[in-house]
Structures are given as structure tokens and as C-alpha cells.
């Protein structure tokens, strides 16, 4: 008896050590990535400081001009445009799935969303390039454009927004549903005025994560955006995203040019982390609503 318990204690100790080591490895990887990005970007920072990325007159690597602003604006415009479209569509899908669809339809619909979330981004890019871009070109040449990138990204992040919204809306405590019903509120008022406000934090944090995904997306954007380095002034302008720029130029970039691509990667990483941090803050601040559930 005593022996058995010693043994299970020892197993537990081993297990906790192994798990601890794995956890440490993950944390270490994160530090390593940042370290690696910093190290590779360092030469160009040292020779011209951080501000050169923002002050330089455009992106002309051969002339040692590494102005990233046009691409930063392009990336932000794409991600913002995509989330503005995907948020209402995604939340509406979630509401339909949870409150309006008959159970059998809801089940299939949820499966579809999961499948949509799993489609490789290059496939979205293929579709965008062969179907969407020609349509846009009939409105305004050349077709490869900010608009094409926004639409492809929207499709890609709708399932993320919808599924995180479903999770947030399902987490609304049943006491709130019951309270709203007992007041004789219609389904529309219950959903719009009670359930959505209660799930607001979860929905917003899901949207932030989806925005981060849109910002980080490379392949689909590279295929449809046109890749001209310029600050977008219209939806039909071909633009180049920060991510696409790295993918396009890394193969031949040397010295400072190469280092500045790493700096772009570092910048992207930091923005995405910033979004994730805000998202987790919002969820935490919403603890009170979910505390009902206890």
C-alpha cells in the first residue's frame, strides 16, 4: 500500500517535470523567435536606426531606402477592411446557428464553418486570382487590388469570427436568458439587448484575433493584391502587404535589404502580439458577466 502510493507519487513527479520541461520549451521558442528576428534585423537598425523604416522615401532596397509605411498602410487597410466585413457576417452566422437555425441545420452549419476554417489559404488565393480578380478587373483594371485582398481575407476570417462568437454567445449564463424571458421580452430584444451585450467582450476579442490572422496572412494576399509598393488611395489600387513583401524578396535579399525584411517580420509579430494581449485583457475584464455561471 505504502509502496504503491510512493510509486504513484514518483510517477506524478516525473510527469510534472516532463510537462514543465515542455512548457519551458514553448516559452523558450517564443523568446528565441524574437531574439532571432532582432539579431537578423540588427545590422540595418544599427546603420540607420528604427525610424529609417518610417522616414525613408519609399521602398528602394537597391538605393538603401527601406520605407515600410506604404506596406504598413496596405496591411492595415486589408486587415481593417476584412474585419469590418467579417464581423457583422460572422456574428450574424453565430446568431443564426445558436438561436434561429433548427438543430439539424445548426449541426451542419457548424460543420461547414469548421471546414471553411480549415481550407488552406493558398486555395483562397487560387479562387481569388481566377474568379474574383477578373470580376473586379471589369469594374476597374487591373483587378489585383486592395479590394480583392480584403474580400479574400474576409472569407478567410469569417469562420474565425463566427466560431469565436458562437463560443462567446454560448457562454452567456442561462440565468440571463431566463431573466430576459421572464420579463416578457421578445426574442429579438433578448438577443440584441441582453445576450449580445453580455457576450460583447468575447465577440470583440475573437474579432481581434481574426484581425491578427488577417494581418499575418501571406499567400492568399500575395496572389490577389497586385504587390505594387504604394500607399493605397483607392480600393482598386494594387498594393503590397508587409507579409507578401517578405515572401517576395527574401529569396534574393542581401545584407541590409535582408535585415530590413527581418525587421518587418519583427514588426508584424509585435502587432499581432499586441492584438492578442488586448484580446486577453478584454476577456479578463468581462469576468463579472461570466461569474454568474459559477
Amino acid at each position: 500500500m505504502a509502496k504503491a502510493s510512493t510509486r504513484s507519487n514518483r510517477t506524478d513527479t516525473y510527469l510534472s517535470r516532463i510537462l514543465g520541461a515542455m512548457g519551458l520549451l514553448c516559452a523558450l521558442l517564443l523568446v528565441l523567435v524574437v531574439f532571432f528576428l532582432l539579431k537578423e534585423a540588427w545590422p540595418v537598425v544599427q546603420s540607420g536606426g528604427w525610424l529609417r523604416f518610417f522616414h525613408a522615401q519609399g521602398w528602394y532596397p537597391l538605393e538603401q531606402l527601406f520605407g515600410m509605411l506604404p506596406m504598413i498602410w496596405a496591411s492595415i487597410a486589408m486587415a481593417l477592411g476584412a474585419i469590418l466585413l467579417a464581423l457583422p457576417i460572422g456574428v450574424a452566422s453565430a446568431l443564426f446557428l445558436l438561436f434561429y437555425a433548427p438543430p439539424s441545420v445548426a449541426k451542419i452549419y457548424r460543420l461547414l464553418l469548421n471546414l471553411l476554417a480549415g481550407i488552406p489559404s493558398v486555395v483562397f488565393g487560387l479562387w481569388g486570382l481566377t474568379e474574383l480578380v477578373p470580376i473586379i478587373a471589369t469594374w476597374h483594371a487591373p483587378g489585383t487590388s486592395l479590394l480583392a485582398a480584403i474580400l479574400v481575407l474576409t472569407l478567410m476570417i469569417i469562420p474565425t469570427v463566427a466560431l469565436t462568437s458562437v463560443a462567446a454567445l454560448s457562454a452567456v449564463p442561462k440565468e440571463l436568458h431566463a431573466g430576459a424571458q421572464a420579463l416578457g421580452l421578445t426574442r429579438k430584444t433578448r438577443i440584441m439587448s441582453v445576450i449580445i451585450p453580455a457576450a460583447k467582450a468575447g465577440i470583440i476579442s475573437g474579432a481581434l484575433l481574426a484581425t491578427a490572422r488577417a494581418l499575418g496572412e501571406t499567400m492568399a494576399v500575395l496572389m490577389v493584391a497586385g504587390n505594387v509598393v504604394q500607399t493605397p488611395s483607392s480600393l482598386f489600387d494594387p498594393v503590397r502587404a508587409l507579409t507578401a513583401n517578405i515572401a517576395l524578396e527574401m529569396a534574393y535579399a542581401m545584407s541590409d535589404h535582408r535585415a530590413s525584411l527581418f525587421a518587418a517580420g519583427l514588426l508584424l509579430t509585435l502587432i499581432v502580439w499586441g492584438l492578442a494581449l488586448i484580446a486577453s485583457r478584454i476577456v479578463k475584464s468581462n469576468g463579472k458577466v461570466l461569474a454568474y455561471a459559477k
Binding site: 440571463l176 431573466g179 451585450p197 458577466v289
Partner: protein
Amino acid sequence: MTMQPHSPTFTLGQIEQGPPCCEPIPHLSIKGLSVRYGAQTVLDEVSLDIYKGCITALIGPSGCGKTSFLSTLNKMTDAISHAHVTGSIHFDNNNILDAQTNVLQLRRRIGMIFQKPNPFPLSIERNLELPLKEHGIKSRKVRKEKIEKALRDVGLWHEVSDRLNTSALALSGGQQQRLCIARAIILEPEILLMDEPCSALDPISSGIVEDLIIRLRGDYTVIIVTHNLAQAKRVANYAAFFWMKERVGKLIEFGQCQHLFDTPQHELTAAYISGAKG
């Protein structure tokens, strides 16, 4: 000696300061009410009258169907897909259980307070404004007046009048429950259903809410589920004792609260209120 048509109504008044509300006019008339969840009967053939302006306490051990009984009265059982309710509940010459009952209107007339305070995660004012808007009170001025009155009625006005726009979730548990009562009475319902409204509160808040419930007597017909027998004795005019027989909830005894406690007619009631059973 003449026979009295009802059990002596005003005995209560002679023993303790009786409320003038207790002329036994049935407000709800319940006949043969049964509730099944799937194949499991949880409440079997309950018949009783709920008297207007009185507080009726539903007492009995957990799982004997008190809450199920309560939620049939405002058709909250509709939300449970496998719930099946039979019998009749007469309210204003209509049977609540009829399929054509307008549930939204019914719930405006029969309000409900839950065990756990459930203010919406909105501002204090918005919590109260929402039901008013929903039930067609368009004038902002009228809404403001009604909100102030409801908050005064539950004794919250002085505590929150300077922060109506702050989140209702920042209130203490007892304040939240009083806000929920305000939210229910702001629609001027005739009947209030209360499902253990004090059980999630600390003793002081519980006392305040209990005093509030007593003050509702006369203006509202209150039906309150409570596990706290002392509370039932303090607040209620009538008491209904439920018990579980072979996993089926039954109404064992119904009568004036003080009679039920002082001279229970049924041995189960006697055992339960003396603490020997349950």
C-alpha cells in the same frame, strides 16, 4: 353556531398583526396541475388557489417540484423542450396553459424573481428601461419617473440615484436582487413569482430583501419558494407544503401559514416543520 364558508380568515389577524389583504379571493386557480420532464413526472395533480394580495409560501424538501410548479405559472416551462404540463391554471377567466396564451403579455402580468440575482450586464438604468421600452412606453419622461418609483419601492433610490449609468454588476448581491425586484415590478405586474430570492444572499441583505417582500403584500400577489421555514413563517399568509412520494412531487397540505405551522393536519407536514423529516 354557523358554519363558515372558508376556514376562519382573520384568525391570522388576531394572532399577529394581520394584513388587511387577506380576503381569500382566488387570483390564480390551479386544478390538477401535473408536470412531466420526458417520462419523469415531477409534479402530480396539484390543485390550489392563490389568493389575491397575499403571500403564499411553497415549502418542502429539494426536488419536490416547487420550482417546477412556479415556472408553470408564467410558462417558463415552455423553454424546456421535453417539459409537458397538464391541468389548468385559471387567471382572469383564461387558462394560462392554453396554447393561445400570449406569453409575452402573461409575463408582463406575472413577474418572476430568481434565486441568483440576474441583472443584465448593462447599466442600472438600462436594466429598468429595457422592459419599459419593450412594453411600449415611448416617453422618456414617463420611463424616468417609473424607474425612480421602482427604485424607491425597493429602497435602492438613495443608494444608486447618483450612479444610474454605472454597471448593475458593480452592485452588491443584495442590491442586485433588489434591482431585479425593481425590474420585475416596474411593469406593474399583478403577481410576483419568487424562487428562493434570498438564498444566494448574505444574512443582512437577505433580511432587507425579506422586509421588501413583506412590503409588497397587498399590492401584489406573491408566490415564494423558500427552504427557510422561519422565513416562510415571517412573510407568508398562506403556505403550501410539497413532498416527494416515489420521486413524484405532490402537494400535501395547503392552508393559512400560521395554521400549517401551528396545527399541521398531515403527519408529513408535522414531521417536516419540526425538522424530523426532509
